[in-house]
Symmetry: C2
Subunit: 152 residues, 2 copies
Amino acid sequence: MSNAVSGPRPSAAKQIEEGLQLTPRFDADGLIICVATDVSSGDILMVAHMNAEALQKTIASGEAWYFSRSRQQLWRKGETSGHVQRVLEMRVDCDQDCVWIKVEQQGAGACHTGRRSCFYRAVPLGQSDAVRLEFRDAEPVFDPAKVYGSNE
Amino acid sequence: MSNAVSGPRPSAAKQIEEGLQLTPRFDADGLIICVATDVSSGDILMVAHMNAEALQKTIASGEAWYFSRSRQQLWRKGETSGHVQRVLEMRVDCDQDCVWIKVEQQGAGACHTGRRSCFYRAVPLGQSDAVRLEFRDAEPVFDPAKVYGSNE
């Protein structure tokens, strides 16, 4: 999303976009966005953030690590739930502020609400007034109370 | 990604996660993340941001609008390139800070570098030293100089 007006200077942008060096552009909080898709269905399972350590651990281990903004801590996906994500492929985008991981989701689901994916509600299109969401692919696949315990 | 420790209080969290009201949680800059996937291939085309106006215009028009952080302005995808994105479905995630749009990409590609997708480089896994990216699905599908003009 950088451009010649306010992005990195042209030579730096060229290097970031066309180079073969991984030079992640972390935001002011030291984070980049990570989108995890299911390698079989192609569906987005979740969108979360990684700091440098989470990114490094994911690359080295082939399992997804994130940085929890709410808990302000490094977070190995599945450490509580057992719902580990095995990473089969990682991509980085043009301006290197986002990564995409294609994962094999272990266990029933990725979402802490008990669904397979965090994206279980659709936003109807073609409306300009109050929008009423519609549940879609929202069947619970596990019981969060049992998986995370009673304090979550 | 919210939890009982530092996320919204339980009743509010329940409403955000299980309710049918669209209550986007914009960040400090007034933005939410938007992931656009190709409705045919399922591949991620791009990840960008929307402010309230971009989100409202996308929902109302069924075409993707974003907010450009580098230019600090509302941005109708394709306004310069003609590479409009027709939105076939929109989903919102559990904590409502991210939307996923499944789009029909008009024109050759979504990435300003001339590729179909912004994610044209893979990050090899299982490494702990310097990582060398690998081009993947990186064939140019249009000439950015022709599409955006010489000033970009």
